[in-house]
């Protein structure tokens, strides 16, 4: 087997080999943002369509979707924001975590049409390669991943999780329910339990989050 050219990313390789099928199956980003063309996507005979408008990473989006489309699939397949990952597709792994009106949720367990008027932030909206979000930089610095597949979900989740602590929301790890919760390793582990890392980078993830929390304090 020949190794791919070093300049070829894994995504280029996958996209390249599946290019024809992908072009047939999914509209491009610009097409998807126009409702009429999104409606023309292939679908099962009995599928129902519904319109929805929301903002993603500051940009207004209007879509007409098969009602079965999850927010995760709307982001990835219709808006081509592939930073958000599909892991288990059943709310168990957290790879699809995004922020809706500032709160972290599993994008796989919610329908896109249920988000009329909502403000959605994905990993692409938190930071960019030129301007990393402090959590992105800290994950790099602390080697908070191996394969990286769970990382966008981990970072979106941890950003909202630190906001939850700042808002005074207690956790199962909080000794005193009525006290102001603190950022401790125990709190971080408990609050991040909805994000699974099968490479097992947990201790470095906790270190990365701790560093950012301490800097923000």
């Amino acid at each position: 087997m020949r190794a791919p050219d070093v300049a070829t990313t894994r995504r280029d390789l996958v996209t390249g080999t599946a290019a024809t099928a992908a072009m047939m199956a999914a509209p491009s980003a610009s097409e998807a943002r126009a409702p009429a063309q999104a409606a023309a996507a292939p679908r099962a005979a009995a599928a129902a369509l519904a319109k929805v408008s929301f903002r993603v990473n500051g940009e207004a989006c209007r879509l007409e979707l098969d009602t079965r489309t999850t927010l995760l699939d709307a982001l990835r397949e219709h808006l081509r924001l592939t930073g958000t990952k599909k892991g288990c597709d059943h709310g168990q792994c957290g790879a699809c975590t995004v922020l809706v009106d500032g709160r972290r949720i599993n994008a796989c367990l919610t329908l896109a049409v249920m988000h009329e008027g909502d403000t959605i932030t994905t990993i692409e909206g938190l930071g960019s390669p030129d301007r990393l979000h402090p959590l992105q930089a800290a994950f790099v610095r602390h080697d908070g991943y191996q394969c990286g597949y769970c990382t966008p979900g981990q970072i979106c989740s941890s950003a909202a999780m630190l906001d939850e602590i700042r808002a005074g929301i207690p956790s199962h790890a909080s000794a005193d329910l009525t006290a102001t919760p603190q950022v401790t390793a125990e709190e971080i582990r408990e609050r991040m339990s909805g994000n699974i890392c099968r490479c097992g980078a947990y201790s470095n993830i906790v270190d990365a989050i701790t560093e950012v929390a301490e800097r923000q304090a």
């Binding site: 957290g94 975590t97 999780m161 207690p170 329910l177 408990e190």
Partner: protein
């Protein structure tokens, strides 16, 4: 997922009317359990009625000094409410012991009560399940039952209800408020909300078709030490093997509800005086009539030891 049509309801009356028009519809709020089951085609509604716009998302004081929790209050917000943390700590603790941060942000009070009573065989379409297909038989009985019920189950079903919140609501004597498809309202004590399987395990609650939960009321605070202790296979984000929700008063009397042992939160008020004779005696009385399997007989001992730990914590 099977195709379905979708509408947003703006009021309980509108939701009820939509339910009358579509007998096969399901209400959807957080969707964290319903959509999971729809993906597996275990739930196959032809129409979804989105009730998120019903303005049932507040926690309000009741005239008698209790609280009324709107059906749409998210689990995170309920657990974090200062009144709940101060006066109904058991409820806050139980909520925080359940699911993950992402799921609690989405899951609602009513949806938590309506999550399916379930077991791995219910989720596996290749296995016989009387809940999925009434009359098909139960592959769990005689299968791997370590996680499953020790009391209240039948020859038709041995699944448990995984809600931690419901265990706390049972100990706190909460009441579920509903509006029926014809517009009439009623109040159902949590004690009567979840049904035991009998020979119709597909019917899990007292709700009638099209009946919508509008809220849950809590009686005035009962004080005491309120403790929720959950024993599970991993430290976080797992269902209970056994959980104990307790309100222990300074005189040693207590309310005790168990999770992880039955198709509903398990509380036997008449057995609670046995607490004076210790945790083991109390559990023997609470779980009187239990029929554990070889796989899950450990749950009876685990329940006694967990209650013992709760009582020790209450005394500390």
């Amino acid at each position: 997922m099977k195709p379905f049509t979708y509408e947003r309801a703006a009021s309980p009356a509108e939701a009820a009317a939509a339910a009358r028009r579509h007998p096969d519809a399901r209400f959807i709020a957080g969707g964290t359990n319903l959509l999971d089951l729809m993906k597996l085609e275990i739930e196959t509604p032809s129409h979804l009625i989105d009730v998120n716009g019903l303005a049932l998302d507040r926690i309000e004081a009741t005239p008698d000094g209790g609280l009324r929790i709107g059906a749409l209050v998210r689990n995170t917000d309920l657990a974090a409410d200062p009144r709940i943390r101060r006066d109904y700590a058991l409820l806050s603790r139980a909520l925080l012991a359940g699911a993950s941060g992402q799921l609690r942000n989405k899951a609602t009070t009513a949806g938590n009560l309506l999550q399916r009573t379930r077991c791995p065989y219910f989720y596996d379409g290749n296995m016989a399940c009387n809940k999925r297909q009434p009359g098909a038989g139960c592959a769990a009985l005689g299968g791997v039952t370590r996680q499953l019920a020790v009391i209240g189950h039948s020859e038709a079903c041995i699944a448990t209800n995984p809600s931690d919140m419901a265990v706390a609501l049972r100990a706190l004597d909460a009441v579920v408020e509903t509006v029926a498809a014809d517009g009439s309202t009623r109040a159902i004590p949590v004690a009567e909300f979840h049904r035991l399987p009998g020979d119709t395990p597909q019917h899990e609650t007292a709700l009638q078709p099209g009946e919508l939960i509008t809220g849950v009321t809590l009686p005035p605070p009962v004080g005491g030490r309120q403790i929720y202790r959950k024993v599970r296979d991993r430290a976080s984000y797992a269902f209970a093997l056994v959980s104990v929700g307790a309100v222990v008063q300074p005189d040693g009397t207590a309310r005790v509800a168990l999770g992880g042992v039955a198709a509903r939160p398990w509380r036997v008020e008449a057995a609670e005086p046995e607490l004076a004779r210790g945790a083991r005696a109390a559990i023997d009385a609470i779980l009187d009539g239990a029929r554990p399997t070889q796989d899950n007989a450990f749950k009876v001992t685990l329940a006694a030891r967990t209650l013992q730990a709760v009582l020790a914590e209450a005394r500390s």
